[in-house]
Symmetry: C2
Subunit: 339 residues, 2 copies
DNA sequence: GCCACGATTGGAACCGCTTCCACGAGGAGG
DNA sequence: CCTCCTCGTGGAAGCGGTTCCAATCGTGGC
């Protein structure tokens, strides 16, 4: 079965192809009578315009590519959800590009200069190099970054340093003195920097309160629940275990909770745990965390990219953080009387 | 900056456009010398072929649309991950279409007949009507279903009835007699039927063992953790609470765990809980569950759809289920000794 | 030395739509 | 009654590739 084309519709309606195209695109300069005839022809032929042909002709694909590393991470999924809603409302397609290896990252930013696959790019936690950014700009492909600051590109971020401070202040207020930080490996192929920034804020706040974050209290591991669990096992099994642990993401914090449970330690009585992100799982494991508006970040990023496609300028945005207490932290027994 | 076209490359290399195209597509009938000149021209011009132009010309977009309802559900995300891997390996794009409202579902299957947006369709838990299926077939758009059986279309499923039985047998073996089923509302706009099938298998196995699943032990609610938690609160707070609960998905089972915790009930000592799916969260909340291979289902679905695109015929597949015991179920106190 | 044939190559036609330009028909103004 | 607009409209020219057909150039066989 051949698909019907605009020419077939034109023939059926007894008009020219230009007129059919005008009807399709809602041009006002078509008489009411003609419009009706064309619409009838479209209905009888069950005609559907070809998206590719239109894209080739107009230079717009109506697709936005979302580039995310390990998109199955709960935090990324939350962001995706915000994007998906916003994009589908404006009738744009969402092309999902998962990045798990460095060379995939490079391919994306390179072939993104293929105008024609998508009109714009939305990245999560990933940033192009200067060269890549220039090429994208030259190719007219707008780009908005989420969870990654950039000197020239519009970005949606949170203040990770401040977030680290929030965690520190929360624990300090509860009387904790000996705290540990569990974060991502400093070197990573994608240049993720939130973990390092959170650590920086955390350490700075502790130092200001007169409680250095000692080097042996900083544990950096590959991102993820499993590695965090293993690291926490060592940390908590040792003779001198800290009274509180700040993990740089909720999934890592959940790894810590698992380790505590395996060791028969109670949370928060024996050890306090605070995470970062506020993914859904944090609610049902009752994890106290530094919450960031994940879904909003996605929705906002999508809106920004659409505005850039409409030719508007957009400004970077910094979203707010706040500690959500769900009971996985408590006053330190040694210093403050507690329940 | 104008993007360079194939004509520019041809001019630069001093050859015809046909030759450039042949080089691009690895045709053997180009002399080594010419090929080199063309490749040099491509490099100097930083040429990237246009994906849309190619798609219009060949009729292949190299994109597969994945249609999923509420794709942020953990089980769906796991499947997506399998698809993403497989599709990206074969250099296909993944277009993600979230379906949250019935009219979105309809739009997808209708406009899917727009050849030109994607070459094939992969659905999760969703099926087209007969009419829609015919139109898709007529338009030459292959379709593979995941988590939904269909009389004529290739599908990847599990035997939900058998899964319900597995849950029942597991609980019966532990000595439970008074069990409850927590599932999805029977009427839903998308025609999801797994919950009903799991209920059927569960009830049948109980009946065969001589322990009817009484109507008041069947609780059907909107899918999701929150509704399940609320329902479980009622069920567990009542005077006659069941000794075990089978929830039709892990997220619902987690809702049950939350309710139990809020009520101060211990799992599994006071109540056993078993879920279905085996999402990642099941591991860290230590939920016993009927496990299905989620990621494999996605990977396999993607492979099948690619084979259909290559013109091969494919057969429906039924994947295996098995109970994974993580300790949220235990022997019933009233009848069997033991913790 | 001539012809047939295979290896390369150039380029027109085509994929299906948008858009711009030209043109005819009325209607208003003089 | 004749211009001059405006309004609708038809259709050719792109958009940037692929592909098929015809043409050219050697080369081997006779």
């Amino acid at each position: 079965m051949r698909r019907s084309t605009i020419a077939a519709v034109a023939a059926e309606a007894g008009v020219g192809v230009g007129t059919v195209s005008r009807v399709l695109n809602g041009s006002p300069s078509v008489s009411e009578d003609t419009r009706r005839r064309v619409l009838e022809a479209i209905a009888t032929l069950d005609y559907q315009p070809s998206a590719v042909a239109r894209a080739l002709s107009t230079g717009r694909t109506h697709a936005v590519a979302v580039v995310a590393p390990f998109f199955t991470q709960p935090s990324v999924v939350e962001r995706l959800r915000g994007m998906s809603r916003t994009l589908s409302e404006s009738r744009h397609q969402l092309i999902l590009i998962d990045v798990e290896r460095p060379e995939q990252r490079r391919d994306v930013f390179r072939s993104a200069s293929v105008r024609g696959r998508y009109d714009a790019l939305l990245t999560v936690s990933l940033a192009p190099t200067e060269t890549e950014a220039r090429r994208l700009a030259a190719a007219g492909v707008p780009l908005v970054l989420i969870d990654r600051a950039h000197p020239t590109l519009p970005a949606i971020t949170v203040d990770d340093v401040a977030g680290g401070r929030l965690a520190a202040e929360h624990l300090l207020a509860l009387g904790h003195r000996d705290m540990a930080f569990l974060g991502d490996e400093a070197q990573n192929a994608f240049g993720f920097d939130s973990s390092a920034n959170r650590q920086e804020g955390f350490a700075a706040a502790l130092a200001e309160a007169g409680h250095e974050l000692r080097p042996e209290r900083v544990i950096l591991r590959r991102h993820g629940r499993e590695a965090a669990r293993a690291a926490a096992m060592e940390l908590l099994a040792s003779g001198e275990r800290p009274s509180a642990i700040f993990a740089t993401s909720d999934m890592q914090a959940i790894g810590v909770l698992e380790a505590a449970q395996e060791l028969g330690l109670r949370v928060p009585e024996d050890v306090s745990v605070i995470g970062f992100d506020d993914v859904e799982a944090a609610t049902y494991v009752r994890l106290t965390t530094v919450a960031q508006p994940l879904r909003e970040s996605g929705a906002l990023g999508a809106r920004m990219v659409l505005r850039r496609l409409a030719g508007e300028e957009v400004e970077s945005v910094q979203l707010d953080l706040q500690v959500v207490d769900r009971g996985s932290t408590a006053a330190h027994m040694g210093l403050v009387s507690g329940k």
